[in-house]
Assembly symmetry: D4
C-alpha cells in the first residue's frame, strides 16, 4: 500500500464506504506490507543513482539475459550493470539490449557488462581509481565501470605502486583533483596509506587477491589497509571493485 492508497482508504472510511473494522483488517499488517516502506527503498535507489545490478557469478547466461530483459521492460532510466560475467553471458545479453535499442558493452578485463540508458553525470566530482600493480587492474576496472554506470565521472591511474614512488608522484595533480579516490592494491597493500597522505579526499581501499604465498588471497593487503596510519581511509572486501565503486558513488553524490 502506497501513500496514495492509504489516503484513499482513509477517505473511503470518512465517506462511509468502508467500516472501521474493514479498514482495521487492511491496516493491521501495515507496518511491514506498507508500500511506503518499499518506497523509501525505491527513493533511495533513485537518489543514489544506483545502477540496476546483476551479480553474474553462479547464474547461467540465459538467466542473466532474462533478468536484464525484465529490467529493460521496466523502462526505468537506470543504467544496467552485470558483474562477474563472461563472454557467454555477454553473447546472451547483447541481443536483449539491442532489442531495447540499447548497446551492451563488455568490459573484458573485469568481466563486467554495462548497458547505458542515461549518460547524465550525477556525481559532483571526479572519482579516481588508482592501482599499485598491473594485476590489480581487473578489480580497478570493476570499480571504474561501476562508478560510471552510476553516473559519475571516473578515471584511472594504473601501476603506481609504492616501491617506485616517482611513478605515483607524477600524478599528484590528478590525485589532488579527485573528489573520491578508490585505491586498489594487493601484496602488502601499502598504496592507500601513501595516497591518503597526499590528498584530502576520502580514500576507499580495495585489497586484491593478487600475490602468492603469505598474501593469503588478499588477506595481507586487507589487514594492512585496515591498519593504515592515514586517517582518511576506509576499506571494502577483497576484490570488491563493485563495492568500492558504489561507496565512491554514494559519497560523490553528497
Amino acid at each position: 500500500m502506497n501513500s496514495e492508497e492509504l489516503l484513499k482508504l482513509l477517505k473511503s472510511l470518512e465517506q462511509g464506504k468502508l467500516t472501521p473494522e474493514t479498514a482495521f483488517e487492511r491496516l493491521k499488517h501495515l507496518p511491514f506490507e506498507d508500500i511506503g516502506f518499499a518506497k523509501v527503498d525505491h527513493h533511495r535507489a533513485i537518489r543514489q543513482g544506483y545502477a540496476e545490478v546483476v551479480f553474474g557469478k553462479g547464474k547461467t547466461p540465459t538467466q542473466v539475459a532474462e533478468i536484464v530483459r525484465a529490467m529493460l521492460r521496466a523502462k526505468a532510466s537506470h543504467n544496467i550493470l552485470i558483474t562477474r560475467a563472461n563472454k557467454k553471458t555477454f553473447a546472451a545479453v547483447k541481443p536483449a539490449a539491442r532489442a531495447a535499442k540499447l548497446r551492451a558493452e563488455f568490459h573484458e578485463l573485469s568481466g563486467t557488462i554495462s548497458i547505458e540508458r542515461s549518460r547524465k553525470i550525477q556525481g559532483k566530482g571526479l572519482i579516481l581509481v588508482v592501482t599499485a600493480g598491473t594485476s590489480d587492474i581487473p578489480v580497478a576496472e570493476e570499480a571504474l565501470v561501476t562508478a560510471r554506470s552510476m553516473g559519475n565521472r571516473a578515471e584511472a591511474i594504473y601501476d603506481v605502486g609504492v616501491a617506485g614512488l616517482h611513478r605515483l608522484l607524477e600524478h599528484r595533480d590528478k590525485l589532488a583533483e579527485a573528489r573520491v579516490i578508490v585505491c586498489v592494491a594487493g601484496m602488502e597493500g601499502a598504496l592507500p596509506s601513501v595516497v591518503a597522505g597526499l590528498v584530502s579526499a576520502p580514500v576507499i581501499a580495495v585489497p586484491t587477491s593478487t600475490g602468492y604465498g603469505s598474501s593469503f588471497g588478499g588477506l595481507t593487503a586487507l589487514l594492512a589497509m585496515l591498519n593504515s596510519c592515514a586517517s582518511n581511509v576506509s576499506v571494502v572486501n577483497i576484490d570488491n571493485g563493485f563495492g568500492a565503486g558504489c561507496v565512491a558513488s554514494v559519497i560523490n553524490k553528497l
Copy 2:
C-alpha cells in the same frame, strides 16, 4: 499505537472527528512506531518465559542494582537473572531484592545472581546439563541457573569426559530422560558427539575456554563441536552458558 488505538482512530475518522489528512499524518510512520510491533516483542518475552536478564560484565555494582530496582518496580512476574557478576555486585543487588520482599541468590561458581519471582515450571521436560571436566562447571552452572530462571526443571552431571567412558555411561538413564541436553566441554570438545549418539534429544553444545596451548581459548572445542558426526547437535559461542540455557529453554517450552 496498539490495535485498540488504531481501531479508535479509524472510528474517529468514520465519525468525522478527524480528517483523512490528519489520520494519514498519524498513520504514515506506523510501520515502526506501531505498538503492535513492540507487543509482538513483548508477547515473545512472555511466551518464552524469558527471565529478565542483565549482563553484569562492564557494569558497576550500583548500575546493576539500579537496573534491578527498575525491573522490580515493574512488578512483572519474570524471574531476574544477572550474569557475569561478582560478590560486590551481589552485595549491591541483595538489599534491592530484599526491599521487594524477594531473595537474591548468588551462584558463585558461574558468577550468576538470580532473583526468583515465580517458581512456575513452564518447560515441558528435563533440561540436562552435562560437562566433560570439572573446569567446565562454571559455564555449565550458568546454563543451569539460566534454564531454571526461565522456568525449567534442570539438572546437571559433571565430569563425565569421553576418556573415561564408563563415568558417562553410568548416567544413561538420566540422559535418556532429558528432553533437551546442554553439553559443555573444553579441550577436544568430544563430549557432544558421544552424548548425542546415545540419545534422541536435541543437544546444545557449549565449548569452553578451559585448556591451554592449542586449545586456543576454546576455539578447538568450538570447531570440533561444529564438525560433530552426530546429527542432533547444534552449537553456541565459547563459554556461552547463558545462550545454551536460553536455547534449551526455548526448545523445552515448545
Copy 3:
C-alpha cells in the same frame, strides 16, 4: 542380546537348563555386545523419524545404488535420503527405487535424492527455512528436503537478506507460524540475529560458503552467527543443510 533374550536366559538358568558358568560366559561381554544397546540405537532412529541417509560425496553411483537397494530390501518404513549426489547417482538410484515400486526424486539445486516410503507427518509444527540470498538456496533446499524426508511439514522463504528489511518483514506471519526456523546465510551472516529477534521459536543458523574474499569460505558467516546477540540461536557447520534439517526435525518432534 535384547531384553527378551536376557529374561529368557535368566529363566533358563532358574529352570536349570543352563549352568551359572555358561550364563556367565554369555553375559560377561554384555556391556558392549548387548543387543539391547543396539536396540536403543534403533529405537532412537525410529523415535526421531530419522530418514536413512547416504552421504553421496566420494561414493560412486553404483556404490550408492547398492546401499539404497540394501536399505530397500530391509522393508523399513523410513524414507531414504541421499545427500551431495549428482545426476549420475540419480540415474543409478532411480531403477533401484522403481524396482521397489517407489519413486526416487532428484532435488537438483541441492544435489539431494529422496525416496519416499512414508508420507506420515511426525513433526508437530512447521519447519521454516529462510535464506538471505539466492546463492544460499542449495544449502536451504538440503535442509528442506531433509526435514521433509524426516516427516516434517517444511516450507521455505528465499532471498530475504537484512539489507532489504521490508522483504523479510513481509513474511512475519509465516515466521510467527513456524515452530522451528532454519536460517541460511553467507557473507556477513546477519539474518539469524534479525529473524531470531522477530520470533520466539528456536533458530538453527546455517552459514554458507557463498561470498568471496574475506568471507573465507563461510567462516565469517559462521563466526557472526556464533556471536549472535539474539539468545534463541544455535549454529551448525558451514553448508550443513542436512544437519540443520536434522536438528530442526529432532526439535519439531519433541
Copy 4:
C-alpha cells in the same frame, strides 16, 4: 620553501642579487624539502578541518601536556583532540588549557580529551553515530567527539541492535536525516548491513572488541562488516572510533 619564497628567490636571481649557483644550491633538494610540498600537507589539514590529534596511549601525562602546550603556543585555530587518555592525563592537560584561556573537556567513556578553539561548523550535514549495544558506546563516543572536534554536527543513537529491530526502526527519521552514518557494533557486527539498507548515505562501519569467545577481539564483527551485503558500507579497524570520525568528517566536508 613556499610559493612566495620560491618566486622571491627567482626574482632575486633575475635581479642579479643571487648567482645561479647559489640558487641551484638552494633548489637542488627542492623536491623533498620544498615547503610547497609541506604546504599541500598543511593545506590539507586546513581544508579537512582536522583537529590536531595526540594519540595518548603510551605517553605519560606530562608528555601529553607538553605536546598540548606546544600546540597551544602555535595559536592555530584547530581544535585539539587527545585520544586513549585517562584521568591522570586530563589532570595534566587541564591547567595547560586553562593557561591558554581555553577549557579542556574529558569524555570519560571514551577516554578522549578535547580542547575547543573554534566552534565553527564546517561539515555540511549531520554525522550520526549508531551503536548496536551499550558496550559499543566508548568507541562510538570517540567517533562522536572526533567528528565534533573536526567541526561537524554529530549526534548518537545507542543500543539499537538488530535482534530488536523496532528499537532501530523508531529512529528512521534521524537515520534518513544523516549525511554520513558511523555504525559501531561488536559481536556479529550486523548493524551496518541493516542500517545501510535503510538509508542512502555512506555508512562507515566500526567493529568493536566487545563480546567474548569466538568474537576474537572484534575480528568476527570486522569480517562480517567487510562482507556486508549492502553496497554503501566501508570499514575501519577494530575499535577505531577516531578513524571513523575522521573518515566521516572528510566525507561530510565534501
Copy 5:
C-alpha cells in the same frame, strides 16, 4: 558389579534365591554399570603404572591437599603427582604427606609436586628429555618428573638447540642410549627433526610457548613439529610436559 558378583547373582538365581525378574532388573543396566568395565579402567592404571595425578591449576591449595589426603587414605602404591602447582599448594600438601609418613617434593621450575610411595622402576629403558633452550626447561622438567613418578628412569639434557649443532652432537651417546626421547623446543621447533634423525627411538615432540611475536604462543613450534621430515616423531600439545611424560612412560613400559 564385578565378575564375582555377577557369578554370585547367577548362582543365586540358579539356587532359586532370586526370581528371574529380580535378576533381570539388576542386570538390565549392566552394560554401563558393570564394575568389570571400571575394572578394566583400574587395571589399565595399574598396568601403565600411572601415577595418580592432580591438575593443580584452578584449584585452591586446600582443595588440592584434600584430594591428596583422599589419595593417601586409599593406601595404593601409586606415586602422587600434582602439576601446575605453586609454593602455597606445596605448603598445604606437605603436612598431608608427612601425616602419611611420606615426603612431598616441590619441583619449583615446573611447579610440580611429587609424593613418592614406590621407587620401583617399571619402565624398561631410559627416557631422555632434551630441550632446545633454557626457557624450555620448565616444560621439560614437568615431563621428567612425570616420567619418574610413573616409574621410569629419566634423564635430561638442556640447551642443545640446532643453531649450535656441536652442543647436541656431544651428547650422541646418551641419545643413542635412550629408549624413548622427549624433545622440548619453542621458537622454530626444529630440534625434534634433528634429534629424530640421529636415533632410532620414538621421539615425542613438545612445543613450548617460549618466544615472542610470530611464535604465537608455541603455535609455530607445534606446526613445525607436526611437519617434521623425520618419520619417528609424534607430537603433543603446547607446553604439555605432563602428556609427553605419560606417552613416553606408556611406550617405555611396552
Copy 6:
C-alpha cells in the same frame, strides 16, 4: 671411515707406513665425513626395519620406477614402499619388480605400492589401525601398508566413530590386544580420546582432511587430537598415514 678403518689408519701411522701429515689430511674432515656417523644412520635403518620409501607425489612414473630399480639393485632385504602413487606409477613399477623376481602390489585406496622382499615379522605385537568413518580409510590403509612393510603384524577396524559407541565397544577385545594403536579420524577428531581411554597402549592419532566447512582440511581434527583429555595420545600431521605407521612400527619394535 668406520672404526676398523680408523684403527687401521692409526696402525699404519704407528708402523711408519704413513706420515703424520698424510694421516692429518685424511682425518681433518673426519667430523662429518666419518663413516661411523653414516653407520649410525645405516644401523638405525636396519634396527628400525624401515622399509625403503619413495614419496611418489610430484615424481613421474618413470622417475619412481628408476628409483625402485636402483633400490632393487642394492639387493638389500628391506621391503620397498611407494606412497602417494597412482595406477600409472604402478604400471611403471610393476615390470621393475618382476625383473627382480618380486611382486609389486598396488593398494588402490591409499595409492600405495609395496614390494615385499622379506616377510619377517620384527614388531613384537599387533599394530591396530582404527578409523572413525569410511572416508578415513585411505589414510588408514597408508598406515596399515606402511606398518606391514616395516615388518609388523597390523590389522584394521573401520567406521567405528564415537556417535555410535556400540560399534566401537564391540571391538574392545581387539583394542585390548593391540600393542600400539593408530587412530584415524576427520571431522571432530574425537575417536583417539575415546579409544585411548579404553586401552593402556600408546595411541598415535592421525587427523584426516575429510569433512567440509569448518573442518578446515583437517585442522579441526588435528587441534582436537592435540587437546585430547587422554594422556596416552600423541599426534602426527593431517593425512599422514605413513608417519603414523612409521611411529607405530618404531614403538612396536622396542
Copy 7:
C-alpha cells in the same frame, strides 16, 4: 628535470632569457617531475645490476614476448629474466631473443627464462643456494637463475634436510666458502637455523609451499624461519625464490 637542466634554467633566468614567472611555472611541480629523482632510480638499477625482470604469471606469451622485445630494443646491457613462465611463453620469447642475436634459455624446473646480454660477474663472492628436499628445487632454481642473471657466481646444494645431518655436514666447506646463503625449505623449515649456526654469512631463508596438511601451503615453514634461534637469518615470502635471489645479489654486491 636533472641538475644540469635546473642549472641551465637558473642561468637563463639570470641572463634575462626567462621571466621569474615562467621559471616559477616550470619549477612549481618540480618535487615530483624532477628527473633527478628518476635518475636516482635509474642509478640504483645500474648499481644493483638488477636484471630487467618480467613476472610471467597472468600474462599471455605474446604479451611477455612484446615486453621482452621492447627491453631488447633499449639496447641496455642488463640481462633479462622472466619468472613464472612456461613452455609456451618460451616459444614466444625465443625468436625475439634470436632476432636480437641473443639466446633465451628456459629453466624448466622453475619456469624461468633468462636472456644473457652480459656475463660480467659483479657480485664479490659466492651465493650458495641450499635446499632441504628435492621438492624445494624449483624455488631454489628460481633463486639460482635470478642470482646469476644479476651477475653473481651462484651454486646449489640440494636435498640436505636436517633429519639426515651428515648429508648437510659433508658440504661444510662449500657452506663456509659462500658469501651469502639462500636456504630453501618447506615442511618444518628447520634448515636455515642449522645452516646459519654453521656459518658466519647472512642466510636468506625461503619457505616453500611443499608439504601437505598442517604445512598450510608453506605457512609453517615461514613461521619457523621467522622464529629461527640463529641470529643471522632473515626471511622472504613463501616460494619467493626470485626475491631471495635479489636480496642475495644486493648483499653480494656490497
Copy 8:
C-alpha cells in the same frame, strides 16, 4: 681438539709415544667432540664481531649479573649486550661492570644494557635504522644498540611513516648513504617497501607489535613486509630489533 693438537697426537703415535688403541680411544668421538668444530664456532663469533649476548627476559637480575661476571672474567674483547632487561637488572649488572673497570649503559627505551670493551668499528658502512612511528622506537633502539655493540656505525631516523611522505623524503641523502637499512614499522608495515624503492641497499624489515585491533600484535605488519613489492627486502620476527641489528651487522661486515 684443534688441528695442532690432532697433528701432535698423530706425531706422538708415529713416534711410538702412544699406542694406536689409545689414539683410537681419543679419536673415536672426534666427529662431535672435536675442538676444531667448536673453533669454527668460535672463529665465527670473532669474524662476525658478535657481541656476547644475554637474553634478559625470564632471568633474575642476579642470574644476569652472574652471567655477565663470567663473561667479564673471560677477558675477551667482545662487547656485552643484555636485551629485554629492566632497571633492576641494570642495578645488578652495573657493579659487575665497574668491578671490571668497565661502564654498563642502560638504554631505557629498549630495555637494553651494553658494556663496551672495544670501540673498534668493524662494519664497513653505515647501518641506518628507520621507524614509521614513535611507538616503533623501542624496537629500533634495540637494533641500534645491537648494531653498535657489534662494532658498526649506526644512526637512526624516527617517525617517517608513509602517510607523510615528505618527512621521509627529507632524509633521502642519509638513506642513500646507508650500506644496510633496518626498517621498523607496525600497523600496515608499509615503510620498508617505500624505503627499499628509494635505495639500492639491502633493507631488513622489522614488524612491531604496536597498533591495536586487526594489527594482531604485529602480524599485519609482518605479512605486509613479507609481501613487499620491493625486491631488496627481507624480514625478521615481530619486535626482533636484536635480530635485525645482527643481520645488518653480519651484512655490513662482508
